[in-house]
């Protein structure tokens, strides 16, 4: 079960809503227990027996948090923290990275005859493990840092760790934020309910109508046998993938936040029109915000951040981005993707201090903004190729083509390579670009829509639902971030 499955809307969400509605009349704790129970039901349908890993992680951090909070002895506190991190990262390493490490070892072993080779284990990646591991880790670390208090009851903490809307693909919620939500008198207000519905409808529309339709072009262009030496084709593929991954991931977040609103719980925003960013730094303030702030607070700053000398800064930036890349998946592609973003961030840091840039920015502000936006987005979309193409040969070929190296500009040949449905996809992409731009100007289309009167709201949502009914492709593509 996921957010595009019929079951989610047919029985899971309505049942959970009704149960929570009934429980709200009794007590706060019964409502929390129901949310917890339904979260585990959701996880069971999404990931089967892997719910045990979530339970282990939850119990581990609950105990560690309590023990750290109870003790004033730094050694004891550190011991509990290290123990908790070891279990969390151990589970993550085993289930997500072990086979990757074995494969890397085996490849390296080829260069050293006589070195032992190992067989991969083939463990299935538990859904959402990267998300809930980071979430529960931040809880324990915050208690250790004395920035936060432990939850007063296990049920609240378990609900925080397992809350089904954000369990599988975020946003990564901080413990204090969630506590604030469940400890305040939870009210299921009609306005919040309507806003929740807006986000859910808008999210499904983004995923199925925009994301899945452009994905047909992406999957076609980046499949075996398509020559990737045509710059127009590769640019189009990168543009479509950038749109696909945004519509896919932000749609998940929208549905997650919308579902939470139905229960009166507000989750933090995860995206703010990222393709309007005018610098790599700006991009990371707009893209997967809950991950980038997590990395900032628990990795970049502890690694020295911008407080130290240049070398520390470089180390912190690069280290954060490499680990951030690896967080996405057990593959060298993601490491390279992180490396490229690290280089972009470092390059930008130095470039923005140059006299030429300062002069140009002062004298020609608008042109500077447009140019900054163009250059930033050019590189952002280039890095999506690394993210998308697992095949090394295809990845290098498309990167070379993307920058115009050894590439041809034959428009008609690119056109012929596209799938049968061409013009509709071009219209969808054009509408996305216009919509994304307008959305950035009005502070988010869905929030604007949520505030409209009944007629406007009903009309636009009715049209979105109709488009959803008519223009979703025959096959739904899995959420990309489910893999992480």
């Amino acid at each position: 079960m996921d957010f595009t499955s019929i079951e989610y809307y047919q029985w899971f969400l309505p049942t959970t809503f009704l149960l929570v509605l009934i429980a709200t009349r009794h007590s706060k704790s019964s409502r929390i227990w129901i949310l917890l129970l339904m979260s585990y039901v959701f996880f069971w349908f999404a990931s089967g027996w892997h719910f045990l890993l979530l339970a282990i992680s939850t119990v581990n951090d609950w105990i560690a948090g309590k023990q750290i909070s109870k003790s004033s002895n730094l050694k004891v506190r550190k011991g509990w923290l290290i123990g908790s991190l070891t279990i969390n990262l151990g589970l993550l390493a085993t289930f997500k990275y072990l086979d990757f490490l074995i494969e890397t070892w085996n490849v390296a072993a080829l260069k050293f005859p006589g070195s032992p080779e190992f067989t991969t284990i083939g463990l299935l990646l538990p859904v959402g493990i990267s998300f809930y591991t980071f979430q529960t880790m931040s809880y324990t670390i915050d208690i250790y840092r004395e920035k936060s208090e432990p939850y007063d009851t296990f049920s609240k903490f378990a609900c925080y760790a397992a809350f089904f809307p954000q369990l599988v693909a975020g946003p990564i919620v901080r413990a204090d934020h969630f506590r604030e939500q469940i400890e305040s008198p939870m009210k299921i207000s009609p306005d919040l309910f309507r806003l929740g519905l807006t986000l859910i409808i808008f999210g499904i529309f983004k995923k199925l109508v925009i994301g899945d339709n452009v994905a047909l072009h992406v999957n076609h262009i980046f499949s075996d046998g398509i020559p990737l030496d045509n710059i127009i084709l590769v640019w189009w593929g990168a543009l479509c993938f950038g749109i696909q991954i945004y519509c896919d991931f932000s749609a998940y977040t929208d549905i997650a936040i919308g579902s939470s609103y139905l229960f009166g719980i507000r989750l933090p925003e995860n995206f703010k029109t990222p393709y309007a960013a005018c610098s790599p730094q700006d991009f990371w303030r707009r893209w997967h915000i809950s991950l980038s702030t997590w990395l900032r607070d628990y990795l970049y700053i502890p690694l020295g951040g911008s407080r130290g000398n240049k070398r520390t800064l470089l180390f912190a930036l690069m280290g954060t981005m490499l680990i951030g890349g690896l967080w996405h998946g057990a593959s060298w592609n993601f490491v390279l993707w992180g490396l490229l973003h690290g280089l972009l961030l470092i390059g930008h840091r130095y470039f923005k201090m140059t006299k030429w840039n300062i002069y140009f920015k002062d004298k020609h502000r608008s042109s500077h903004t447009i140019m900054a936006w163009g250059v930033t987005q050019y590189f952002i979309f280039m890095t999506w190729l690394v993210f998308r193409l697992e095949d090394t040969g295809m990845m290098w070929r498309s990167l070379k083509t993307f920058i115009g190296f050894d590439a041809d500009w034959d428009f008609s040949s690119a056109w012929e390579q596209l799938p049968e449905i061409k013009n509709l996809t071009i219209v969808i992409v054009a509408m996305f670009i216009i919509g994304h731009t307008i959305s950035g100007k009005i502070g988010g289309f869905k929030h604007w829509l949520g505030k409209q009167d009944a007629v406007v709201w009903g009309f636009i949502n009715g049209i979105l639902l109709s488009a959803l009914f008519l223009f979703r492709p025959a096959e739904t593509i899995d959420f990309i971030y489910f893999r992480f």
Binding site: I421, V427, G458, N461, G462, S466
Partner: protein, 363 residues
């Protein structure tokens, strides 16, 4: 405050549902032009039957597979018939059989036809098995069931629903919601065509290129009686190719092992005959000829299942039977290949069938 919020929520949902229902159905029907499906022989049946329904002359309709399609020349039958007001329509479709044709029976009954010629073929009486898990199954049936039931209305849904095998159920749309959902799969193609039209891009030519004449035109009426046929395969072969064909292809007809009863194809045939007879429409069961080389190599009793099926239906429903499968005097020049007639064969079929049809129409 809360009441105001609830009223706003309820109003919003009502407007949303009204817009959704209005927009989705109206856009769907405007977006998905039926010509997407009805521009070929596979999707023409319901338009054809609607045309036949308004024709007040005596009408004879032939249904069945490509053997029937290549056998019936309605113009020849009309010219030779002693009944000038009779018209003869050929609705045979490649690879069709009772199991697919049964879907048109309710519409056929409502089309005021007088006689229906149903093909009973040795190659059409086999058992259908559930596909092994992981395999897609019969794509032809999927295509025919999907298109036919998508173009239907509620009045086309009849007892044939009970004949559909459980593993084919998914391809059949029996209510308006299912039909709309089935059409939805083509809305992206429909939208692409609209965008292409708006942008004046010529890529739609292939879609707009009708394989059959425009409905309502004289060419359309003629086509229903005398469809276009491909040229004879034998005539395209040189002596060596013809020899190879005789040695390698003729014996393939021996692979047909018609069952005597018990298959879904038999159930469909039974449904067709009983429904038509009960509606007062005369039925002729037609077994079409096979190349004499095929007949000569046929082991004794090999196609007994076919004979038994014919006999059973004739006995049960007292319908006419014309068995050309085992009738003599079919010659090589009548055939396009081992089991399809060519122009000479159609003429021969026409001469043999006209007196029988006249006799029935005269009654």
């Amino acid at each position: 405050m809360v009441n105001k919020g609830i009223a706003n929520l309820v109003n919003s949902l009502i407007v949303c549902m009204i817009v959704f229902m209005t927009a989705s159905s109206s856009i769907s029907y405007n977006l998905i032009d039926d010509s997407l499906f009805t521009n070929s022989r596979y999707g023409m049946i319901y338009d054809a039957l609607d045309t036949i329904a308004v024709d007040e002359s005596l009408s004879v309709v032939a249904i069945g597979s490509s053997q029937m399609y290549k056998a019936v020349n309605g113009e020849c039958l009309g010219n030779n018939s002693a009944i000038p007001e009779a018209k003869f329509y050929n609705l045979g479709i490649s690879a069709s059989r009772s199991y697919t044709d049964m879907l048109m029976i309710p519409r056929l009954i409502n089309s005021n036809v007088d006689v229906v010629m149903i093909e009973v073929g040795v190659n059409l009486l086999f058992e259908m098995k559930e596909p092994i898990k992981g395999y897609k199954g019969d794509e032809y049936l999927e295509m025919r069931f999907t298109i036919d039931t998508m173009l239907q209305t509620d009045s086309d849904v009849g007892e044939w629903v009970e004949v559909i095998l459980p593993f084919h159920d998914n391809w059949v749309n029996t209510n308006e919601i299912q039909r709309t959902e089935a059409r939805q799969l083509y809305s992206i193609d429909g939208m692409e065509i609209i965008v292409n039209d708006l942008l004046e891009i010529e890529e739609n030519e292939a879609v707009h290129d009708r394989q059959i004449p425009e409905i309502g035109t004289n060419e359309w009426i003629d086509y229903l009686q005398k469809p276009s046929w491909p040229s004879s395969r034998f005539e395209r072969m040189d002596a060596e190719a013809r020899q190879t064909y005789s040695e390698e292809e003729m014996s393939k007809s021996l692979n047909y092992h018609p069952r005597a009863n018990g298959t879904a194809n038999h159930a469909a045939l039974d449904y067709e005959v009983s429904s038509l007879v009960n509606a007062g429409i005369k039925v002729i069961l037609v077994g079409l000829p096979h190349h004499p080389e095929v007949i000569s190599m046929l082991p004794n009793g090999h196609w007994d299942g076919y004979n038994a099926t014919m006999r059973e239906l004739v006995d049960q429903y007292d319908v006419e039977m014309v068995d050309l499968t085992f009738s003599p005097n079919w010659e090589d020049h009548h055939f396009s290949d081992r089991n399809h007639l060519d122009a000479d064969g159609r003429e021969e079929f026409c001469y043999r069938m006209t007196p029988i049809l006249d006799n029935i129409l005269g009654d």
